[in-house]
Amino acid sequence: MFQYRPMPAEHEPLHASFTLEYAYTRSTGPVVGRFLTGLRDRRIEGVKTREGRVLVPPAEYDPETGEATEDFVEVGSAGVVQTWSWVAEPLPKHPLQRPFAWALIQLDGADTGFLHAVDAGDESQMSTGMRVRVRWAEETKGFITDIACFEPDSNEARA
């Protein structure tokens, strides 16, 4: 039977750092492109299916029926947490380098969950059903990261 053999110490394999990149340029198209351009202007737009469901982020087709989606609709910049996970030890590519939550957020006026990070400080501050609000990046460029993250909706806390 095949056995993995450790290399003898005098033949340590050579190591070199290597960043794998595929330098593709993508066209975002009329639907995702419009959504990303909206983010640059600090506006979140979804798209309506023929059944009237609002998809955020928008898609060119209704995932249920395959039909083309129709009108764009602006949705709120705040919404409700549908589910979440808590990252105690962020990875280098995570958007926040302190403990934070990932969440699917149903924005006001939308029918689907929108994935993003929530800067809640502590896990005890997170719960399904809580309201969160967008925190925009200082500079917006037409990328999903124009939303820096979400944060617990302090208006609700005061109310």
């Binding site: 039977m1 095949f2 993995y4 053999r5 450790p6 290399m7 394999p13 290597f18 794998l20 595929y22 993508r26 975002t28 995702v32 959504f35 990303l36 998809l55 955020v56 982020p57 898609a59 995932p63 549908q82 589910t83 979440w84 996970s85 808590w86 990252v87 105690a88 990875l91 280098p92 590519k93 995570h94 958007p95 990932w102 969440a103 699917l104 149903q106 689907t112 969950g113 929108f114 994935l115 993003h116 990070a117 896990e123 399904t128 990328f143 999903i144 990261t145």
Partner: protein, 351 residues
């Protein structure tokens, strides 16, 4: 439809880091073992199909190099899927159904140890709205796990029980990476990796390869005493937008199971490709498995999860138990993508 059966299965030992052993060196002995066991000569196998990922290997068209491990001289008829090799088996099954081949060699492999798997898997996500956030595979699964905890009767204790059973089953699997006796209390006392998932809820990161040989009707009967006949095979996919799905159920598995005819007869064993404990619970429900079905006698993906071939191994593990006579009718499942996005279901039976 032509009768097609699994006649041979072999796999490399799943290890966390194969070190300087490269993909070709991992594949070659496993291919040799599977062919020897099949009773067919290499030259008698009509078609070869593999599953692997350039992103794991770190080079474009990396699967071409791996062909050295499968043997491509004299020239062979060959194809590849950038998916788990369970889908390479599906392609091979279609090829045989179409009459363009009577037998096929299928292999899958990966060395996840070459990169940071949680980050590499980010690259399979929607490149506009999801991947740039930097979300990793465990964080995504944890979103699904919490949704299940909050919308079903399952608890974290149920998750831990899945881990305990799989790791205990793996003690009988010499190719397993993780096996042993754990207790539910011991697991629940551990901190979360990404809440609500603990390390024990997650499949290990593995290097490995597995190989299956399939053959049509008379060939299978000639070389194999008790072939594992593929009675049904189907795969389905769900929307790529996670927030457009109900993560607490697996609609695609359920549909694939119906099309493959899972419940058209009694099931003895199920080999489910669930890289996270909560996903096994979702899959059991989607497949409508009865309580007496033995689930993951091999230990499943929680005992070893080489990317791009852990799904093929599920088919192999189920088939080998039918070939040996331990089981009569089994179901094997493979998954791909985040949170059980795409699922393949295969029904296998002895005669």
């Amino acid at each position: 439809m032509r009768d097609v059966a699994v006649i041979s299965f072999a796999q490399a030992k799943n290890v966390r880091d194969a070190g300087a052993v490269n993909e070709v060196e991992i594949i070659m002995p496993v291919v040799a073992e599977a062919i020897a066991q099949s009773g067919l000569a290499r030259s008698e196998i009509d078609f070869t199909c593999s599953g692997s990922s350039d992103y794991l290997q770190g080079a474009p068209f990396a699967f071409v190099m791996a062909l050295d491990g499968a043997g491509a001289w004299p020239p062979i008829s060959e194809s590849h899927v950038e998916m788990d090799a369970a889908w390479a088996l599906y392609e091979s099954w279609v090829k045989i159904q179409s009459g363009h081949a009577d037998s096929a060699l299928i292999y899958g492999f990966s060395k996840a140890s070459s990169g940071k798997l949680r980050e590499v898997l980010n690259l399979q996500l929607d490149p506009y709205c999801v991947a740039p956030l930097g979300i990793d595979s465990v964080s995504l699964a944890a979103l699904q796990a919490r949704a299940l905890l909050e919308k079903s009767a399952y608890s974290e204790k149920d998750f831990a029980e899945v881990a305990v059973r799989n790791r205990a089953n793996a003690k009988n699997n010499p190719k397993a990476q993780l096996a042993g006796d754990y207790s539910v209390d011991e697991i629940l006392a551990e901190p979360c990796l990404v809440s609500p998932l603990r390390k024990h809820d997650c499949a290990p990161i593995s290097d490995g390869a597995s190989v299956i040989v399939i053959a049509a009707g008379d060939i299978a009967r000639r070389v194999c005493k008790r072939p594992a006949w593929i009675r049904g095979i189907d795969h389905r996919i769900e929307p790529h937008s996670l927030g457009a799905r109900d993560l607490t159920v697996s609609a695609s598995t359920r549909l694939a199971a119906e099309k493959a005819g899972v419940n058209q007869g009694p099931i003895d064993i199920a080999e489910l490709h669930a890289p996270f404990t909560h996903q096994e619970l979702i899959l059991r429900d989607a497949l409508q498995l009865k309580d007496d079905v033995e689930i993951n006698p091999s230990g499943g993906a929680l005992a070893g999860n080489p990317m791009m071939t852990a799904g093929l191994s599920r088919i192999g593990e189920a088939a080998s138990r039918i070939i040996s006579g331990q089981a009569n009718r089994g179901v094997a499942h493979a998954t791909s993508g985040p949170c059980l996005q795409q699922n393949l279901v295969c029904v296998l039976e002895g005669e």
